[in-house]
Symmetry: C2
Subunit: 288 residues, 2 copies
């Protein structure tokens, strides 16, 4: 029977560590980490995410701002607002919530954020450092970073393991693949054009799925004892939130598995909070 | 019988295209692409590489400088020299030849080169753009970029193919993996910690080896019709320059293969020249 990786409990643990680090930064250095989440327009899902981030940040003692902007905003106006937070010493992390309206060049916005305030880890210079396995401090996309925290917590060692990343998005697949490679795994990156995913998964020690498709990983696709990490969020035929993998079927074949909900999801926001404090600490170190 | 990918002939073809592009830039825009190769110390192999680069550049009409520096140079002196070429409008591409003496922090030197003059494609922001499959123009490491030119020349389509990259260096393995991924292949990145390379290669449509070890890819490791690209340069038992793969044995099993010498090697310098001109053209476009 598989060990179920409890993302909810781990997120809680991580959040209390983060909260202690915030307190220490305040007590020792008189510094409060500051996060601004910029949201453009009124997409209900985005508003819910942003509210959750804001609430968690405040609860952990982080100085948290939500900057709500009209969906008619121009590129230059949005760039100016990003610049404002780049220049604001109270803000150590800047996040621009997806999605953005059509008139906005998202790539340019991402690149306008100072790399040292890029709390999402999406700036190409931070992506480059990650892919190069740079030994200095830099932010990394929160979802894959959260998965690495799970591996660590459950003593899942990646060194020499065969890892398969299904999905090659900039937000999950690519940074996750880089992190696993840096941890010593052999990594296969699969995607929509891959002809036979099973050919890879059946030999894999670690499988991470981020496809947004039901039944991406079935019981027949995995070898006994594999570790399965499910980043997917899908609504199934019965209207329930489920992952990419056949969770119930996999339980008696794999060694570790993340549930959906309660697996990777809660770790993403907790990692965002952790990284907001990381950025504040790194900024302090640079200032020394 | 395999088609032998003739890197020497292709490099020659690429060089004549480059030479025409140089002429056109001069005639139409009054601009000459300029390359500086900075070499520290007197390593004979490095000196030979640098001489080859210099000679080829001059032959193609590129303004070529070699800056020879003593191996006692300090970090700050070398940084100052890089800055000098960053500021020099005649220089469109800057290359710092490996290896560097111990007192030099190579990473810092790489990052001091302006990303738009980074003719080697080693700056993390350029690596990040590559990994993100950015649609704008940016330089890419020359050896893997040269391999992509080979694929194109021989109509080897990577879309949906299973590709295996053996080696994860910053200079070859990682950028090569990213380029193949961007071209639509499923990509497995293997390295010294990989337990069973054959498990991957036996199902691979494309195999790129950059290990620097003899017999990395043998006849038993590949499936019939595979494409084998050999980036290795090794001296064998008889004192001859050979690649990582068992070239002679593979000839009647694979569909395409690169010889060593005469395969990937000549493409690296030709690609460096091509990219020097790319940088000059992109700089011109930005200035418009």
């Amino acid at each position: 029977m598989a060990t179920i990786i409890d993302g909810k409990a781990l997120a809680k643990k991580l959040n209390s560590q983060t909260s202690l680090r915030v307190k220490k930064l305040q007590d020792t250095n008189g510094i409060t980490p500051g996060l601004v989440v910029i949201i453009v327009g009124t997409d209900p899902a985005s508003e819910r995410y942003v509210r959750n981030k804001h609430r968690t940040a405040k609860r952990l003692g982080i100085y948290s701002l939500v900057r709500q902007l009209p969906d008619t905003i121009s590129q230059s106006e949005l760039l100016k607002i990003v610049q404002e937070y780049n220049d604001n010493p109270k803000i150590t992390g800047i996040l621009v919530q997806d999605p953005l309206p059509k008139q906005i060049n998202e790539k340019e916005i991402t690149r306008a954020i100072l790399p040292e305030k890029d709390v999402d880890g999406f700036h190409p210079i931070n992506v480059g450092k990650l892919y190069l396995d740079d030994s200095t401090n830099y932010p990394v996309a929160c979802t894959p970073k959260g998965v690495m925290t799970m591996f660590k917590e459950y003593n899942i060692n990646l060194k020499g393991k065969n890892a398969v990343m299904i999905g090659r998005s900039a937000i999950v697949g690519k940074p996750m693949a880089a992190l696993m490679l840096n941890a010593g795994a052999s990594v296969s990156i699969l995607h929509l054009l891959t002809k036979d995913i099973t050919e890879y998964t059946k030999n894999a020690d670690i499988i991470v799925s981020a496809t947004g498709s039901l039944h991406t990983v079935t019981k027949d696709d995995v070898k006994p004892g594999a570790v399965v990490i499910d980043v997917g969020q899908n609504i199934n035929e019965e209207g329930h939130l489920v992952g990419d993998t056949d969770y119930a079927d996999l339980l008696d074949k794999v060694s570790y598995i993340t549930p959906v909900p309660g697996g990777v999801g809660p770790m993403t926001i907790a990692t965002l909070m952790q990284q907001t404090v990381d950025l504040a600490e790194w900024s302090l170190e640079r200032g020394k």
